[in-house]
Amino acid sequence: MRVLKLTPDKCTGCLRCELACAYMQTGEFQPAKSVIRVSPFEGHTSYAPYTCPQCAEGWCMTACPVGAITITAAGAKDVLDDKCVGCKLCTIACPYGTMFYDPDTRKAFKCNLCGGAPACADACPTAAITYEEVATADWIGDFARERAARVLAAR
């Protein structure tokens, strides 16, 4: 299966991925509605994108009481709008913090790999986000740990 590979060293923090994602997912150019989130490190001198790793367990999917989360042809866990009642159980079941809730529609939403053509990867000008046939992984943990160590040591 192809997944979103994140290479944080290449991220410039331009946030194009957030805009592209929000537009693709909700029709709005509103970063607050993006399901890929860019975090700053070391006082905004470096950045890393973070999104759903499409985990094997699919904690969101198995927790849904009405079977509203399924696996798409692209292999992504995705929310079926007409089945989701907005109970938020998926938001507490997902241990990655990558389930989202739209108060306007009262539905949960998440990264669904845009049906196999992820807008974030397309929008990324530096290939920090690529869509590749690789095993999903903790792409940004080491990057964050290294940078955090310096910040925490400086306290």
Partner: protein, 440 residues
């Protein structure tokens, strides 16, 4: 052919049933006994506010059960279990022989022992039938009084307001949500409720409920009477275990189960509200009467019944409720008085975090914030991940003491994602619920 019997068509039973079909290597006979047609209690609040049709609540239609070749006894309750003979007797005298069985009979609503609690204008909100009853009686402008300010009451609070009713919450304890959030959080929620036009009376003991024609009068020990249109009693639940008396199945607070969800009788499993299994965080036996535990118990029990050897690490206590667009969530041992706790409040948002520690690992967390706030939603999941994984936060503990809101960098830099990714409940990738209107 192995004969599996699943007693109870709620979340635990339906997850077990589906997992048996997913895991078995050869076809078995599966029988389901359920007092009600299988439906999801979790979604009843959305039926109450009319955002979904009644048909949406059902988790398996007759067609789906037929597709899964499940023999059903719907509308029937198990009355006795003869574990020596391997026979379950139903309330109509039907006897079902089994090779193994799952007890997943769940809980029922309990009303406070107040004179008049069984009156015409008093409702419970637990079963689909009870939900229909409440729905039929609430109209725009109705005055609804909720007796009990616990989790169940709060799950339907938004629905009652959405129907245009006026709401008063009455709680005998000195504060709301006593088993879901600490006093600081409860105070924030109470203030938020008042801001949204909900009246809250805490420390209020109802002494009598009187039928006054179309209306109902509540009398209190001290404090003025309330005259209202609908009373909903959400004063607790009790596990449905009486019918197991004399079965030989060991019951403590619930049916004591091992890491394979097996009871003291090896071919009798238990799952969900009736099961007392391992708590993931404390390692102690506990009853977690919540949806995710019922799902996981059901799946692990189902896998074992199907012949797999599936062990369970334990259930994580977790809850979330939205109160007028304010999210309130709790994880793990959030009320452990012995734990070291870091807290931070932002009154103006409002927002609240409480992190509870065992050494340099999170053992529990409370979180409160606006539903529209992405930060809150992301932190909810990450706190769950930190408590579930038991990641070491040694490098971050002092930072989090200073700022309990800064969960995200701690989650990412502690490589919690790497710890979580290999975890699965059944040692394999989970399967999608499929295209059928099946929710299991």
């Amino acid at each position: 052919m192995t004969r599996h019997l699943v007693i109870g068509g709620g979340t635990a039973g339906m997850n077990a049933l589906r997992t048996i079909r997913e895991e078995e290597s050869e076809r078995s006979e599966v029988t389901l006994v359920s007092a009600e047609r299988p439906y999801s209690r979790m979604v009843l609040p959305y039926y109450l506010d009319r955002s979904i049709a009644e048909s949406h609540v059902f988790t398996a239609t007759a067609a789906v059960l037929a597709e899964w070749s499940v023999k059903t006894h719907l509308g029937r309750r198990a009355a006795a279990l003869d574990t020596r003979a391997g026979v379950c007797t139903l309330d109509d005298g039907t006897k079902i022989a089994y090779d193994d069985c799952l007890v997943a009979t769940g809980s029922s609503a309990v009303r406070a022992p107040v004179p008049g609690a069984d009156g015409r204008g008093v409702h419970s909100f637990w079963t689909l039938d009870e939900a229909r009853g409440v729905l039929a009686h609430i109209a725009p402008g109705s005055h609804v009084v909720m007796i009990g300010a616990g989790f169940i009451a709060f799950t339907i609070l938004n629905s009652i307001l959405a129907l245009g009713a006026r709401l008063t919450i009455v709680e005998i304890a000195p504060r709301i949500l006593p088993r879901m959030i600490d006093p600081t959080g409860a105070e924030l929620v109470e203030a938020w409720l008042r801001r949204h036009g909900v009246a809250v009376r805490t420390g209020a003991a109802v002494t009598r409920i009187e039928d006054r024609g179309p209306r109902t009068r509540l009398r209190f020990k001290g404090g003025s009477d309330i005259l209202c249109d609908v009373v909903i009693m959400a004063t607790g639940i009790r596990t449905n275990l009486e019918w197991l008396a004399g079965s030989g199945v060991r019951v403590n607070r619930g049916i004591v189960v091992d890491e394979r969800l097996r009871s003291s009788v090896p071919n009798v499993y238990a799952a969900g509200d009736v099961a007392e299994g391992r708590d993931l965080v404390t390692g102690e036996p506990a009853i977690h009467a919540i949806e995710p535990t019922a799902q996981e118990h059901g799946r692990v029990a189902g896998a074992n019944m199907a012949g797999r050897d599936a062990t369970y690490r334990g259930s994580l206590l977790m809850n979330i409720v939205e109160v007028c667009h304010l999210d309130v969530a709790s994880f793990g041992a959030w009320d452990d008085p012995g734990a070291e706790a870091f807290t931070a409040v932002r009154q103006e948002r409002p927002a609240y975090r409480k992190l509870l520690w065992r050494g340099d690992r999170l053992s529990g967390a409370l979180i409160l914030g606006r539903s529209s706030d992405v930060w809150t939603t992301n932190d909810i999941g990450m706190l769950k991940g930190l408590v579930q994984s038991g990641s070491s936060l040694a490098a971050w503990k002092e930072h989090l003491r200073g700022n309990p809101f800064d969960v995200k960098p701690a989650f990412i830099a502690s490589r919690t994602t790497a710890t979580l990714l290999p975890l699965t409940l059944l040692g394999r990738a989970a399967k999608a619920p499929g295209n059928t209107p099946v929710a299991v």
